[in-house]
Amino acid sequence: MTSIQIHGLTKRFGDVVAVDNLSFEVAQGSITGFLGPNGAGKTTTLRMLLGLIEPTAGSSTIAGKPYQELVDPFRRVGAVLESTSFHPGRRARDHLRVLCVAAGLPVARADEVLDEVGLADVGDRRVKGFSLGMRQRLGLAAALLGEPEVLILDEPANGLDPEGVHWLRKLLRHYAGEGRSVLVSSHLLAEIAQTVDDVVIVAKGRLVTQSSLADLADRTKPGVWVRTPQSQELCKALASKGIAAEVQSAETLVALETTTEAVGITAAGAGVVIFEMTARHFDLEEFFLDLTTSTTNLSTEGASQ
């Protein structure tokens, strides 16, 4: 089932197109990583999804409805948007109590979530004394108050120490395990690669790719890229030697998890002509960087034309 649906979402700020005809979906019970470099339009997209920013075009729904039309939205959707949206002079527990009262939740939830995010001991302290990591935890506590079926987090790992990031991963995993959906943005793939099921990658406000993390990982296995006029023949020859390969076009092919030597010997044995051959050793992070920077270049070219 689809939990979040974003359709043709566009936001223009004057001449700047922050989000450009973006569409993607988040499946129920999954954790989706929303990835892109800084300035890719992630925050704007999430704020449009939550009804805080009016889109220039397009629409978005959570559980089938626009956020503004949800009944008791705070119980349906929990959001962590930034680490600065607290009154500095208010105590952490009071901040949560205010939200409970406004949303019609029992105020006892404040203490429960403080405990859940590990802030039980500092609930009586004013937020101005909080570190960035503590603010992130408090923001998360606020999002958990209504025990929502959808969690939306904007760069939640910012300011968290490694132990905090580890804790966050476990928490999100646990949440998704209960059949809830999580959409979590980040500019670092590595930060969430261990946690997410699916990834949505954006750059310059546009969708680069949406896929499962497993598919993405497949596309990034080390291998050998070959340019040959006989790609079909080479693919068969490689298969007969137990080397998996994908024909990408009439003239190109990628042989997976192998070496240039193995491909060269196989090609010679099969009498296949090779024009060009390169070993690829990229990891997921490099692939992500590749994807987002190539789109960045494309769109700057597009803009200058």
Partner: protein, 248 residues
Amino acid sequence: MKNLIHAELLKLRTTRMIYGLALAALALVPISAISAIAAAGRSGGGPALSTTEGIRNVMTASSSGALSVLVIGILIMAGEFRHNTATSTFLISPNRGRVVGAKLATSALVGAALALISSVLTLAVALPWLATKHIRVDIFSHNVGLVLLGGIAAMTIYAAVGVGVGSLIRNQTAAVVIALGWSLVVESLLVSFVHEIGKWTPGGAAAALTGNSSGRFLPMWGGAVLLVAYGLAFAAAGTRFTLRRDIS
């Protein structure tokens, strides 16, 4: 709506801002009352205590916290943008008009509560002192009761006007500076020198409410209607134009 109003009251109770401003509002009351009584009948002071005017003048001390109350109203609204708490407020209630409604109601409650205490303080200072001067004061008379009631109405509405100003000018500092500059400078000048315009300003309306019987202002009911209209117009304009803007 009830939840939102409760939440607004809890917001106020959980920061120190309200206590400071409430203290400022209330501290002004005995000071005004004392100086009104002490200066009454002297050159540069108000009319003599033996006159109706003199008693009314003392009773207007009960609304001397009006500007503090106006600032409280502004902070209730504009403070949401100052500290970015507007994000979570509007996530809980995506209907921004309802949030403004809750804030109008909350500020009016706070204004009314402070005004009630101000009235009691005024009487607590004035009655014993006037008694020593052998001036009998009937607190249910026009001169006292009506002035105090008018003061309560003025402060109640002033707080709501503050919310209207804060919704129109999202920048908290700008909103406070503009509101105080307007009230203390522009409005005073208008009331003093261009009275025909001055009596139609929010301050002029408040003066009509707080028992300025000189006939130079609107009648009391007129002042009340005009002041409420200002508050609602600001809030409606703010909700329609300023608050609909993106929260980022």
